[in-house]
């Protein structure tokens, strides 16, 4: 029985459910569980729900060590850019230790962070840095776009025996949608067709899914049928579903909130150039952020980010319209 709930709530539900299911799951981060009145503290106690200083290297490194020795930490890191001060733990510790040990240990942990807060947070708080986490063997990366995916991927992340980067989008936090009750786990590496279509394949993640679906709706009114695919996890990345869709449509538009060379869009374009080339009837088209940092002022910020209009234009352009 699905309930209607907000994206933020869906994540919290999954964390609570997993903590109930498995006493090895702990949850900590800055500015959470301050007092005994905190609901999670009340439910799970101060040993399993902890507040941390502004010490990302220790927060993340402690999670690695705790995961190596039998816990399953979930770390709230707030904004993904904050992790940049401790990127070694994400890219060069958590995903490498098992491999270097010849498979003797595992490092099951979840780093949770938001991203892409395009609401006047300016140059250092609004970025998409997921490209830094791709191509890191041993690391999985989830990018849910809907409340249901938010829950299902959080459950999957916590149950996974590997380090997982769970990135939620700030602009979708208050969005509502149906979320399955109880055990609901979405496998990694399985893209979701958010809207079926036949003329053009469109791939997007996070908030860009919302924008792309709006664009698809607009285009439908003009008789253009767009298939919107959300990879949901970018490591592993479900290239097959994308290539199969291109086989059908022959055209591919990629929408990404990051600047072009920091985008999943470019990676997918590259994959399709290799694996889907013969199906393509037109060049792929990428709609990404412009090559600037994110400016503070609203008109500037709007200008550099992908918009529904730019997406509509791109879809038409691959159709030669």
């Amino acid at each position: 029985m699905p309930s209607e709930m907000m994206y933020a709530q869906a994540m919290a539900t999954a964390i609570t459910e997993e903590m109930t299911r498995d006493s090895n799951v702990i949850f900590y981060g800055q500015n959470l569980g301050m007092t005994d009145r905190d609901p999670l503290v009340r439910k799970f106690g101060k040993s399993r729900v902890r507040i941390t200083p502004i010490s990302e290297t220790a927060e993340m490194g402690i999670a690695v060590g705790a995961a190596m020795t039998g816990l399953r930490p979930v770390v709230e890191l707030w904004m993904s850019e904050f992790m940049l001060v401790a990127m070694g733990q994400l890219l060069n510790e958590a995903p490498r230790l098992r491999y270097m040990s010849g498979g003797q240990i595992k490092v099951p942990l979840v780093f949770k962070a938001g991203y892409g807060f395009a609401a006047g947070w300016a140059g250092q708080h609004s970025n998409c840095i997921y490209h830094t986490m791709m191509g890191i063997p041993g690391l999985k990366v989830a990018l849910p776009s809907t409340p249901a995916d938010a829950k299902g991927l959080m459950a999957a992340s916590i149950r996974d025996d590997n380090p997982v980067m769970y990135l939620h989008h700030y602009m979708t936090m208050l969005g509502k949608g149906p979320v399955p009750d109880g055990d609901y786990v979405i496998p990694f590496g399985v893209a979701d067709v958010k809207r079926p279509g036949s003329d053009v394949t469109l791939v997007a993640t996070g908030w860009m899914v919302t924008k792309s679906l709006a664009a698809a709706e607009t285009l439908a009114k003009e008789g253009i049928s767009v298939e919107v695919i959300d990879p949901r996890t970018i490591a592993p990345l479900d290239v097959d579903t994308i290539v199969n869709s291109v086989k059908k449509t022959g055209r591919l538009v990629l929408v990404d909130q990051a600047p072009r060379h920091a985008s999943v869009a470019a990676i997918i374009a590259g994959e399709v150039a290799e694996r889907g080339f013969h199906h393509l009837k037109a060049p792929v088209k990428m709609v990404t952020a412009l090559d600037t940092s994110i400016p503070y002022s609203e008109p500037l910020e709007k200008y550099v980010l992908p918009s529904e209009e730019k997406i509509v234009w791109a879809v038409k352009s691959v159709l030669g319209k």
Partner: protein, 349 residues
């Protein structure tokens, strides 16, 4: 209303300088009040995240009153207070916070990233602790180029738990860089009380004890009294200027507003919540006690009792500050937005 800092001729702080200090404290407070009122009076005009300096006035002004003309101030994202003291235009500051073309950074930076290098304010970072390293680098420039400058580096109690703090102070100590580290202990980092996240505080020790890790002087000072801050910082500045290296000063005061405006997703407009002491911990008495020790009230009282400030003079300063900031708000509201295509400027030098 004195804007430029009067010279100190005698050993003690002269009347002019004291009045100047008081005025700057008022200007900071009024600026922040107007920023805060903007959330109510003009919802949506200020975007993102804004952090106010009310409560910090004595600490900021006491520290910066010790500086020489070319010394630099390098704080964190909670950055409104300092440039006001350095002589930056409050009009441009307000316009920046409103995202306008006439803003200090033409709307590119916003509240967290004010920058005015022409007024010895090179810019700030919104990422905790990182600017401590930047300030240390500015001190390296001063040392290598022998400019005689001292760098005033400000950061929070929370920031002192970031590796950057520790690494920077060690390097500054080894290299004997001309820098003064001012740890503004307002007892909260967002919702977190300092004793929940700082080992010194948890043990009942002052945070200035961290100076021991670098074998440098570390003192704790009452940050609600600009004169005590002045004394402590002056000593540290002298040491720095003499080539003896950095000091750590813990300045204790209380932040009067919530950490920042509440975080919401558009189109829900942002507002300022209650202070965390009340909202999260229900510590109403703590908050009331802190407000009773408002540094501006205390300093006004002291200046009056010393005969430095008369009632009419106080009134006149207040009026002119109020008028100045009213103008700033009007200027900012009237300023146009930058045109969108400008967004691609300034990526590369």
């Amino acid at each position: 209303m004195p804007k430029k800092m009067p010279k100190n001729n005698k050993k003690a702080l002269g009347k002019e300088r004291l009045i100047w200090m008081y005025t700057q404290m008022l200007r900071i407070r009024e600026f922040e009040e107007r920023v805060k009122r903007t959330f109510v009076e003009h919802p949506g005009v200020i975007r993102g995240h804004t952090h106010l300096a009310d409560g910090a006035e004595a600490s900021i002004v006491g520290a910066l009153a010790t500086r020489n003309e070319n010394d630099l101030a390098m704080p964190s994202y909670r950055c409104h207070g300092y440039p006001i003291v350095l002589g930056t235009s409050v009009k441009k500051m307000m316009a920046e916070i409103y995202g306008r073309k006439d803003g200090l950074c033409q709307g590119f930076g916003g509240s967290m990233h004010l920058a005015d290098p022409a007024h010895h304010f090179p810019g700030t970072s919104g990422i905790i602790g990182q600017a401590i390293a930047h300030a240390t680098g500015a001190a390296l420039t001063a040392q290598v180029k022998k400019t005689g400058q001292v760098i005033y580096c400000f950061f929070g109690d929370g920031a002192s738990k970031q590796g950057a703090f520790y690494e920077s102070l060690n390097m500054a100590a080894v290299w004997k860089l001309p820098i003064v580290y001012i740890l503004e202990n307002n007892q909260y980092q967002v919702y977190t009380r300092v004793e929940l996240e700082d080992a010194n505080a948890a043990a009942g020790d002052p945070l200035s004890r961290k100076a021991q890790a670098f074998s440098i002087p570390g003192v704790t000072v009452d940050g609600t009294d600009p004169l005590r801050v002045y004394d402590a910082v002056e000593k540290a500045v002298k040491r720095a200027r003499a080539g003896l290296g950095p000091s750590l000063i813990e300045s204790k005061f209380y932040r009067f507003s919530a950490h920042g405006n509440a975080i919401t997703v558009p189109p829900v407009p942002t507002q300022f919540p209650e202070h965390e002491a009340i909202e999260t911990y229900g510590r109403k008495a703590e908050y009331a006690a802190a407000r009773a020790r408002d540094p501006i009230l205390l300093f006004r009282k002291k200046l009056k009792s010393k005969g430095v400030l008369s009632e009419p003079a106080a009134k006149q300063i207040e009026d002119s500050v109020r008028a100045e900031l009213e103008q700033a708000v009007q200027f900012a509201l009237a300023s146009p937005f930058p045109s969108p295509e400008e967004a691609t400027k300034y990526v590369y030098a």
